[in-house]
Symmetry: C2
Subunit: 306 residues, 2 copies
């Protein structure tokens, strides 16, 4: 066990305290995984570190750790998985913010990578984070080779062009300013944001050696949660102020993006998100008390944000 992150369930469990503690834990390990900013080429590694440490909530790695803990998984390997997924998440944000994509100058209150380091280096830094993530997974010697390969494969599918994150980003680009159906919107959100959240839970189950049935149920939990998370993001883009969000609010509207509030209105969108989370939580009832943190997380990272 490295830098111990196991969380005991206490009567006075506080989700805020838990999230803060886990974020600190994840951050210290991300720091270990990333090349130093003094490693050549310095500008590239500086950009990678800048983007990773630009203040994320670490939702995905925290979900990995919480899933692993619910299933009594081994902390060291889960920590590697958690960091790898956060590197992939950061890569997607760097590329999403580029002028050719969402064209955002700020993210989490700080200049986006391309505004600070230039577009070329930002593109390369995103690529390097994806590459480092896969490398990290390939190297986890404590996990059986078969499991490592399954995780690399499923993660590639989750971030790939056929229904994965890249499919979602491409559909998102294509849909701007166009009419879109409810089915199409759900498809975009599930692919763009849902897939990486779902795979965080799924791969943690695989690392913890869970049965196929358990993996299946946890995947379904992750899938609903992932979609709810993106719907709440849409809602916050309408309701939140720029300072709350750390990025420009109302951008979706300006970019004529396919969003839930645009199609359903705010109240219905909130109800959809709430229902998705409740249904997701039902999928993990079988975990009993061991699932308490996952349930708390599900509420917190989705519906409690609005």
């Amino acid at each position: 066990m490295r830098k111990g992150a196991a969380v005991r369930l206490e009567k006075d469990f506080s989700i805020d305290h838990y999230l803060k503690r886990q974020k600190k834990f994840v951050d210290s390990h991300l720091d270990d995984f990333l090349p130093s900013a003094h490693t050549a080429p310095e500008i590239l590694h500086e950009t990678m570190r800048y983007s990773v440490f630009a203040g994320g909530k670490r939702i995905r790695p925290i979900l990995v750790l919480a899933t692993g803990e619910a299933l009594n998984g081994e902390l060291d390997s889960l920590t590697c998985l958690a960091c790898a997924i956060e590197l992939i998440h950061t890569y997607s944000l760097i590329h999403d913010d580029l002028p050719a994509m969402d064209n955002d100058d700020y993210r989490r209150g700080q200049l986006t990578a391309h505004k600070k380091f230039g577009e070329g280096i930002a593109i390369l830094a995103g690529n390097a984070l994806l590459t480092l993530a896969v490398q990290t997974l390939a190297e986890i010697s404590s996990v059986p080779e078969k499991t490592r390969l399954a995780v690399i494969l499923q993660l590639c599918q989750a971030v790939g062009s056929r229904g994965g994150m890249l499919a979602g980003q491409a559909m998102d680009l294509e849909t701007q300013g166009k009419k879109f159906s409810k089915e199409h919107l759900e498809q975009i959100h599930s692919a763009k944001t849902g897939a990486l959240i779902q795979i965080s839970v799924r791969c943690a189950s695989l690392f913890a050696g869970a049965s196929q049935e358990v993996c299946h149920n946890l995947s379904a939990f992750g899938s609903g949660l992932g979609l709810a998370y993106q719907i709440v993001d849409d809602i916050l883009d309408v309701e939140g102020s720029s300072s709350d969000l750390g990025k420009t609010s109302g951008k979706d509207d300006i970019n004529e993006k396919a969003t839930y509030p645009a199609l359903y209105g705010l109240e219905t969108s909130k109800n959809i998100a709430t229902d998705l989370v409740e249904t997701a939580i039902q999928q993990i009832q079988f975990l009993g008390p061991a699932g308490k943190i996952l349930r708390e997380l599900a509420h917190f990272i989705s519906v409690r944000r609005f």
Copy 2:
């Protein structure tokens, strides 16, 4: 054996005929690996296919197949490796051509991906090719899990930020318009182009189950060849006409790039490339007659081009 590509050594062996035949073989398999342009999101898959089939010589996959054949490796798995490496090569070209990088409108006589499909989709298509390559490698069930993981790991290192392709691209960007030393130039070229050529030969050796010593010698061969290849590219950028190159010649000079001709002049650059190839070939003398095609390839893909 799929679609048979084994090449028998004949007295009247023609490297041109061999290259043409192998390119056809590789192309037909790339066609199988890539999602159809009718798979959603169509624009993304159309861009991936457009870029992959924009007329490359398939040098890296042909090197994979030739190395595998010299070592009596199994053709099916080597073909998957060959295709994965070509997908990675294409990803690097799409990103290299972007306005924020080399800003090229044409590549191999055709519009570059971003000129034809837009920058956002071009960036995503590059990312998707890298992801598909890793996925392809993770799925090759006929190769031992240990070997597959070693290949994924080493390939990530070869294209990563620490001395790999991304390091080369970043150094290349950083060096434009600045003074550079001989050591720095060799470092850029070895990382940017050399690493992927070297790893093509190295991973093929691993797939063929070669001993550590054989892998080491073939890596050294690939390393010299890779550097020579980029030096010849520099030379062709000065000497070639735009129609020969299929891209704008003299771009290196316009972009104030770190190149061998800029530092050493044309004649000395040619001598350096020739010496590198001769030294590389010495590393594979131990292959005897089985190394004939590799030797022919080494000459052809480097010094015979000028």
